[in-house]
Each structure stands twice: as structure tokens, then as C-alpha cells.
């Protein structure tokens, strides 16, 4: 039997397989890529994984890997092969994904993807061809170019201003993600046997779901090192190897861990996650609260982070939609993660909210003095301003048509033992002062929101009732 049947019978993708190109690679004479290709093909063949293999070949001389390998092939952007490989692996965890990359690709432009993917540790196999030079673009300095080595972009030799050669195998072995890292070479028969074994082992670890493996191959580029193939082999041995010592850099014994179930398309499960239910909610409204504003009520809730303005806004929006109206809620915050300003624009519309912003609200709920000062004057004529009289001592002078409703949100909530329910006190005040929705509508919305924290429901109901009472007592 012939070996390496994983190669196509004919390289149709290589210049349409015309003439000799149908059976010859595009690599220069003596190039190390061809050997690495053969060893990879042998390993795929020996392990019987031709059908499952996806080979990812990014930019570099080996971008044309898909000319040769009769496996699933994906060609990737420069440096991005590990990310593409992950995309394949997670799409089909049964596939065996090989990311075949050169030094510029893996150690320069794609360094972030290289390190992140290695550390992620998902079982893919990275074959890293390190020949200390850029091949495809024509002999420029690589991240792995040796000190003193000349290239077209280090014409006098790489010096300290150009940085030091990157030792990728050691770097990758230093990460927690990989299970197997080895550096091999191709310069003599002994090294070639080791290289072959390492590639096979790396693929096997992936097949077994044990983890990420990385094989660095010190390879020859006679063309751009400007030597004949024999001298290049010698150069790799004598010059490269001392900088890039061969051998196993990491070899963990681990149990197979990468096991993934097929994705679920269970509709019930998805609806549960989304919190969607077919149960019709109880409705209490007799009609749209046109007494507040015809067809569309615009509210603004303003305070500091932690006042609960957004939660209250959400409860109003939910209540409206439960009642069959349309509603929107837009939050806006200051840049602080905690304690900055926190504003909410809410609309409740009979049919459709046309404009969801509330630059001139019908109702303002202000949780502090700056919010009241800022938005009080924007309230529409005949509108309502409800504010926390526990923290606002002097209300600003507003249009006389605007109804001012001072309610001690904080005071009541503190008396109830939980300052955080002041927003629910505010909702009670809103209900009593405007009649936006019936009490039961709000209470249903509150209970629904707390359905996973039932113990808090009585306290919130009480806060709501006190908010109503506070407004009623104003009228007395």
C-alpha cells in the first residue's frame, strides 16, 4: 500500500492541476513544508481520521495547503487560523481540526489568537512551521529570525533594536491550557522520525478529547536563507537549534474532558429561558388612562444609581404591556458603574409608542433635588411631579399648572426597614396621584417581578400601600 493517500490524486486546485502542477507542490526545492505536509498526511492516514479532519491554512507559504490535502479545508486570514479552528471545533466537536501556521502568522500578526487559543485549551492541533524568515512575502524578518541573521528588512542582521527571537514552544508550554507541546526538526532522519511521531501524537490527543497540542517544527527555507538545501539543513541544526532547543516542552497526562452534547432545539426549554408563557395575565384597566394624557403618557423617573428608578420604570412598562397597551423604557446612566445619575424615560401608549424619549414628560418622579431641579421645568403644563420629600427640602417653583406631590419615599421605606423599597413607595404615590393604572395592575406587576423572591412580596406590597396612603393624606 502506498502511504499518504490523504493527498489528492491530482492537485486540481494548484493552477487547475495543469501539467506537472497536478502532482507537484508549489514549494521551493528543499522546503520543510513538504515534509511537514507528508508527516501530517501520514498521521491522518494512520489514525483513520481523513473524513473528520478540517485543515485550516492561513496566509503564508502554506496558505495553499488545501491544494494537497483531501480533507475538509478552510483557508483563513493572516494570523487568525486558531480562531477559525475554534469556530470549526465548536461547530462539530467530532471533527479533528488542524491549524497549520508559519512563524509570521503564528508568532507575529496572530500572537493574540495563538496565546488565547492555547490557553483556552480546547482540543485542536497547531502545527507551527518555524523557518526563521518570511517566505511568501519574500524574505523579510520573522519574529523568530535569529540575532544577527540577515533578511530583507534586517539587511545588516537582526540587532537589539529589532527585538529578540520568540521562543514559541516554551511560551506555549508555560500556559495552563495546552496538554502537549514539542519542538521537532527535519534536518536528519532521526529528527524526521521524531517529527512524524510528534504530529501523530498531537492529533491523537485531540481525537481523545484530551486537549490542545502544539508542535513547533524547525523547518528549512533554502530560498530565503539563500543557501542550498543541504546547507540549510546544517544551518537549522547548527544555528537554529541552539536558540530553539528541540524536545518535549510539556506533556500532561489528562483524562478526556472535551465532551459536548448536540445543541438543543427544544422549544419549551427556550421559552422557559426567555420567561415566555402562554398564560393570559389578569387585566384590571377599564381603558386607557386618557385623564393623564390622551393616547400616550410620557414619564420620566430620575435619581441616582441605587434609587431604583430603572426597576420602577420597568415595572410601569410591564404593567402597561400586561394591560394590552404598548410601552417603552429607555434607561440612561452617568459613566459611573455605581452611584451616578440614573434616568428612565417611559412611555405608555394606547396603540403604539411613536417617540420613546421623554424630553417633556407628563409625569416626573424625582428621587433627589438635582433631578427635580433639572427635569421639573420640562414637565408638560398640567403634568404631575412626584418627588421624595425626605431628601428634597425646597421644591423649585414650577409652572402653576403642574401638580406637585411631595411624598417621603425614603422616610417611609426606612420606617419599613428597607430603604431599597423607596421606588415601590414612589409607584404607590404614582398610582394614587395619577390613577395611571388600577392598584391591582401595579401589584400584579410587582408580584410577577418578585416571583423568584416571594419572601419580599409582602414588604413591597406594604411599601406600595404606604405610597398610596401618603398621597391620600396630602389631600386631607
Amino acid at each position: 500500500m502506498s502511504k499518504a493517500s490523504v493527498f489528492y490524486d491530482r492537485f486540481e486546485r494548484h493552477s487547475h492541476g495543469e501539467g506537472l502542477k497536478g502532482h507537484a507542490t508549489h514549494y521551493c526545492p528543499g522546503c520543510g513544508h513538504g515534509l511537514a505536509h507528508k508527516f501530517l498526511a501520514d498521521a491522518i492516514d494512520d489514525l483513520g481520521i481523513q473524513d473528520r479532519t478540517v485543515a485550516v491554512s492561513p496566509v503564508g507559504c502554506s496558505v495553499f495547503l488545501y491544494y494537497y490535502f483531501d480533507v475538509g479545508n478552510t483557508q483563513a486570514a493572516h494570523g487568525r487560523a486558531p480562531a477559525v479552528a475554534l469556530g470549526h471545533k465548536f461547530a462539530n466537536p467530532e471533527s479533528v481540526v488542524v491549524s497549520y501556521q508559519g512563524d509570521g502568522d503564528l508568532a507575529s500578526i496572530g500572537l493574540a489568537e495563538t496565546v488565547a487559543t492555547a490557553q483556552l485549551g480546547a482540543p485542536i492541533t497547531v502545527i507551527f512551521i518555524n523557518n526563521a524568515i518570511y517566505g511568501m512575502t519574500g524574505g523579510q524578518m520573522a519574529p523568530t529570525t535569529l540575532m544577527g541573521q540577515t533578511s530583507s528588512t534586517s539587511p545588516a542582521g537582526r540587532n537589539e533594536y529589532m527585538g529578540q527571537p520568540l521562543k514559541m514552544a516554551e511560551m506555549i508550554a508555560g500556559l495552563d491550557g495546552p496538554v502537549y507541546v514539542e519542538r521537532v526538526a527535519l534536518y536528519d532522519a532521526k529528527q524526521r522520525i521524531k517529527a512524524k511521531k510528534a504530529i501523530q501524537k498531537a492529533l491523537k490527543l485531540q481525537m481523545e478529547g484530551k486537549g490542545y497540542s502544539f508542535i513547533e517544527v524547525l523547518a528549512e527555507c533554502p530560498t530565503h536563507l539563500k543557501m542550498n538545501p543541504e546547507d540549510t539543513e546544517k544551518w537549522v541544526k547548527e544555528c537554529m537549534e541552539p536558540v530553539y532547543p528541540l524536545g518535549v516542552k510539556k506533556d500532561l497526562t489528562v483524562d478526556p474532558w472535551f465532551k459536548r452534547n448536540p445543541p438543543s432545539f427544544d422549544g419549551k426549554k427556550l421559552l422557559n429561558l426567555a420567561g415566555a408563557t402562554s398564560e393570559q395575565p389578569e387585566r384590571f384597566c377599564q381603558g386607557f388612562p386618557n385623564q393623564v394624557a390622551p393616547h400616550d403618557v410620557s414619564l420620566k423617573l430620575a435619581g441616582s444609581g441605587g434609587d431604583g428608578a430603572q426597576t420602577a420604570a420597568m415595572l410601569i412598562a410591564r404593567a402597561a404591556i400586561t394591560e394590552g397597551f404598548d410601552a417603552t423604557h429607555i434607561p440612561s446612566y452617568g459613566p459611573e458603574s455605581r452611584g451616578g445619575t440614573s434616568y428612565a424615560d417611559v412611555h405608555v401608549a394606547e396603540e403604539e409608542v411613536l417617540n420613546p424619549g421623554s424630553p417633556t414628560p407628563d409625569i416626573l418622579i424625582a428621587f433627589n433635588a438635582p433631578s427635580l431641579a433639572k427635569f421639573g421645568p420640562t414637565v408638560k403644563k398640567g403634568g404631575t411631579v412626584i418627588y421624595d420629600s425626605s431628601v428634597v427640602s425646597d421644591a423649585p417653583a414650577l409652572d402653576p399648572s403642574v401638580k406637585l406631590v411631595p411624598v417621603p419615599f425614603t422616610g417611609i421605606a426606612t420606617d419599613l426597614g428597607k430603604a431599597v423599597v423607596k421606588n415601590i413607595v414612589a409607584l404607590g404615590a404614582l398610582q394614587a396621584a395619577t390613577g395611571l393604572f388600577p392598584k391591582e395592575t401595579f401589584l400584579t406587576s410587582i408580584r410577577q417581578a418578585l416571583k423568584d423572591k416571594c419572601a419580599l412580596i409582602p414588604l413591597n406590597e406594604e411599601a406600595f400601600a404606604w405610597g398610596i396612603k401618603a398621597v391620600e393624606s396630602l389631600g386631607e
Binding site: 493517500s5 513538504g34 507528508k38 483557508q75 483563513a76 486570514a77 487568525r80 469556530g87 395575565p281 420613546p356
Partner: protein, 466 residues
Amino acid sequence: MALKERPKPFLLPEYCKGCGRCLDACVKDCITMSDQINPLTGLVPVDLDLTNCNACGLCMDACPEPYGLRPAHEGEIQDFELEDPAKLFGVRPSDAPEPVDLPSEVLPLPRTEPLVIKGTYASALGALLAGCRHVYGYPITPSTEGAELMAKFLPKLDGTFIQAVSEVATVNMMYGTAGAGLPCMTFTSSPGFSLMLEGVSYMIGAELPGVFVDVMRGGPGLGNIAPEQSDIKLACHGLGHGNTQAITLAPSTPQEMLDLTMLAFELSFKYRNPVIILGDGYLGQMTGKVQLPETLIKPGIPKWAVYGDAMHRKNVITSIFLTESDLEAHNEHLNRKYAAMQVEVRSESYLCDDAEVLLVACNTPARTAKGAVQELRHRGVKAGLFRPITLWPFPVEALVAAMKGVQRIVVVEASAGQLEDEMRLALSKAGVRAFPEFESVRRMGGILPQQDEITAQVLGRKEVRA
């Protein structure tokens, strides 16, 4: 059992590049460089004299060419046809089959009560309902809630969410999953979208589906995290390098965030091309009423995928076409797809039939403009709103219809005229030359046009600023 004799090497001189790596490998000195140039290759191959060969095989392991030094078969025919290597190199383990489409399934869902959720959540649910179980992303305000919801839900659906090392890695993970033929998506915002564009170009070149939800924010540079319609130009005319186009959808409500995300997956597989959803920061954060559909998609695997199984082995995903005529043909093929996408135009015309003043807006500014239309109508001005839902392809026929009888056109947008440029280009390409001079209401920097600014423009007061 008799030991089988190891095969000796064999070489077609035409497949030898004469690198000489086998010379060192042979301890019996069976291999020498030829003294003649092979006329077919112009190279000097090696000569084999196998008198002393002990079939150690090391020369074959040293040869970098797949069809170079090979084990000779028993009874090898030595006068072969160059064009028939199959005969020469033995039987293949299996031939790759011709792949077929494994179709998607549409599964029924019970009717549910409307949800009250944010725009980004609605989009995420739309993606899950469309069968997407692979989401990659990098956190960026104001789009992150979408990714957060996916990070919470997908593990429960045995799906995959990976927080990538960057937006660049994100789009390339999508390239991989899309290459495997499965639906995938990301949430991002303007600076992140910029970073993804190289990958979008690759996806378009390699004809891969994928959905990008770009919740646009203020720019340029870091700008801020408030809403702007800053990426219309990028999505419609700047999707990375080369001849790229993608259907670009502009939702204006949380409900549309869900509906258009579902549509985006359908279109992206229909055309094997990415689809862009441009939201704005307001819409991403806005909570509203969202009705779920009564179906759920279970995706199949298209025949072109590289899934990593026997059925799809012969496929390749690539955007390289080295031969110029091949690349030109590929671009012509892409152009035919772009032409076919023109039927996907979508728009809404609101009170346009008798309109004398036509407002044009998309995303959240379109809702504000709708409010303005209503107010203007109350004041006796016959105003209407044209809202493009696809920004590319631009619904120019519907625009022309809405423009009929109109005396004034006011473009309302949160950008320096990116929507207006799309209109101008579309009208110009459609050969429409006669239309009223465009007026505009533009805000930038994270400020959306307000209703009073729109009405003031229409009613003749040019400048009203908050």
C-alpha cells in the same frame, strides 16, 4: 508468517525538484544528482541506482514532495503514463462523496404572551429562535447585554458562547463556525465593528453566512457610548477591502430587533453572505413589547459546508483566487448575488399618500420622526414618514413612491449625513434626478434628533437646540 519485503524507493523524475535532501538520508549512496536537466521541469532531478538499496525507506521520509520518492509497488510497471498516478500510487481509502443539503426544520412553538425586554435581548432571542447556537463576542458598550444573555442561555441549550480575545478573533471564530455551515452571530458596537471588517471581507469572499448586530455609538475613535447612526457608511459601503456588499437592516423597535435578527439569519444562508443589523444605542437599551413567533428553526447543514465529516470532505472554504481570471469570475458571481439581493428591499411608509412634507429616518430617529409626523398633522401640516428598513439594498422604488407629490424632504438622522448619502446614491443610480432639495435635521455625538427640532425645521424655524 513470512516477512514481507520492504519496498524500495521509486521516483518519477518529473516530480523531483532536485533538492537533494534524500542524498544525505541514504547510507548506501544509492542516490546521486543527475548530470542532466529534465526538459519537462527545467530542474535537475536525482538518479537512483538501487543495486545496494536495502529498502530502509529513509530517503522517502526525506523527500518533501508528496509524489516524489515513493515506495515502489510490487511488480511496479516502469513505463507509466505520467497522467495516471492513481494507477501508480494505489487505491485511495475512500472517495469523497458528493455533498447534499441537509435542510433546516421548522418546529412549532405555542403562542405566548408578549415579553417586555430590551432590544439587545430581543435580538439575542431572535438569534436563538433562528437556530443560532454559536455566539462569539468581545464586550463593548452598548451592545454587551446581548452577549451576556447568550452567555447565560447558550450553556443551557448545549450551545457555545466564547468571549474572544478581541473582535478580530470573534469574526474569525464566526468564519470557522460559518464555514462548518452553522448559524453564528456576534453583538458589537462601532469601534468593535471597525475591527471586524477585515473578517467580514473574508466571509463575503469565502461566501459565508453570519449575522453582525452592530449597536452603533458615537464616533470617530473612542467617541462615546451614546447612540449615533455612525456606521451606515461602513455597513453599506465599507465592509473591509474588495468588492463587498451585505444586506443591512435597520430596526427601530425591540420587536424589530427580534424579527430582523431572524430574517438576517434566513437571508445570510439564502445568499451565503453576512448580514448586518444596525441598531443604535437607544434601541439596544430600550425595553419594549416583543411578541415571539410561533416557530423555531433547527438548522441543517448546507452542502457547501466544511463540517468535518465524510459527507463534506471535498469542500473548501477560501477567498483566494490566485488566477486573475478566476478572481474576476468570482467577483462577477458576487455581483450577480448582490443584484439578486435587490429584491430584499424593505421599508415602511407612514402617512405618505397625501404627504407634502416627507420625513426620512431610520432606527430610533424614525420613531421620533413618527411622533413629529403626528404632531405636524395635528398642526395641519401634511407630513409623512419614509423609513428604510434595509439600508442596503436601499428601497429606492418605495422612496420614489413616497416622494410623489411631496414638496419638501427632511432627512432626520443622528449622523453627519450618512443616511442622506445612501438616499442620494440610490436615487442617482435609479436615474431619479428631479426631487426637492434635501433639508436635514442632524445631531451627532450621542444626541438623537428631538421631536421639537424636527417640527421646528418643518415649521420654518431652523435652529432649535436643547
